[in-house]
Symmetry: C2
Subunit: 212 residues, 2 copies
């Protein structure tokens, strides 16, 4: 066994090089794709040589895997945090859409949406990590949809799973198409339309209408 752990709150005061590398590589991957940048690009921005990069991440594949895992971890934390602030399903969906909108507003594509396009060219560990991201999205949204329908706050047909997939697909797709036009409103407008559809007229929810 290792020594007893004594100090859980021991945050390193200095921004470690590995983190700065991840920050730069993440932005490059989100704006240019995994195949659209090189170690030389990162080294120029971070201020160390490409040889030093290899000290922190043995290969580009290893760096890519770390990128996706950190991204998924942060996203999961954001979703968990959201649950402590937003109670009802429509608010949670709006907040979920806002997360995506913020990414687009910073002129980036969702990291995993971008990597999904390049999926067939990526090393298997990255492929698995990408699916994990979308699986986590689907699980979280499915829960929101199920509870939202049960509470009469959301109206939709079919399974919560399919509704969740549609929600993510539409947000990813609108990010994808918004960037060529430099027009983030292409996402926010679509998100508003979807949410309005889900919360439209209570006619189909608690009024005794069959929900199918």
């Amino acid at each position: 066994m290792a020594k007893a752990v004594r100090r859980p709150p021991a945050p390193p005061p200095v921004p470690r090089t590995a983190d700065r590398v991840l920050d730069v590589a993440e932005r490059l991957a989100q704006t240019r794709g995994f195949n659209g940048w090189s170690y030389a690009d990162v080294s120029a921005e971070v201020g160390i040589t490409t040889a030093s990069l290899h000290y922190h991440f043995a290969s580009k594949a290893a760096l890519g895997r770390a990128l996706v895992e950190r991204y998924t971890s942060r996203f999961g934390a954001a979703l968990a945090d959201m649950a402590t602030r937003q109670a009802d399903a429509p608010s949670r969906l709006a907040e979920y859409a806002r997360l995506y909108g913020d990414v687009l507003a910073s002129d980036r594509m969702c990291l995993c949406g971008m990597l999904a396009a390049e999926y067939q060219t990526l090393p298997p560990p990255m492929q698995r990590a990408i699916r994990d991201y979308f699986d986590a999205n689907e699980a979280w949204l499915r829960d929101v949809f199920e509870r939202g329908r049960a509470a009469g706050a959301l109206a939709f047909t079919g399974t919560a799973r399919d509704a969740a997939r549609q929600w993510t697909s539409t947000l990813e797709g609108s990010m994808l198409l918004a960037r060529p036009y430099g027009d983030p409103s292409r996402l926010t407008t679509v998100a508003r339309r979807m949410l309005a559809e889900l919360t439209r007229a209570p006619a189909a929810t608690a009024k005794g209408r069959l929900r199918r």
Copy 2:
């Protein structure tokens, strides 16, 4: 001026090399992205050297531009042809979705959806051609939505333009997310849901148009 045109049906009996190059490059671009293949990949499949490739397409940028323009041209022809066979708006939307579903079924991403991800890394002529593709999509769909609503066959809120953008975004997004799972049903299921939503019998339409 040129000689009088006498024989409209004059199909070249031989598949020209340039076309075979385009066919191979198109598939590579749709499956691996524009930055995911090289002239060497194409030359190996077509059976000529990379030097010969440069005879047909002076640069990869020129080849890329030709790819998008041919793709857009074929897509426009498919939409025009559709108008001769499908009259009502719901049928046209279903057919439009089927076009996208066929691409996915062949294990490819929409060429321009793929290139939209890599947009920032592409030469300006390709960027313009990509926007042209989506503009054409939007124009065609906007017309379908406008006429469909006027005829009482489609029910949606907001502008036809926004409905059109949502339709394409959702199809592109579901293609994007379906490929990591090798599951084309992720698109068809979403398409069915969207269409059902648009044709759900609202207060004022023709007789029930729901087809499922």
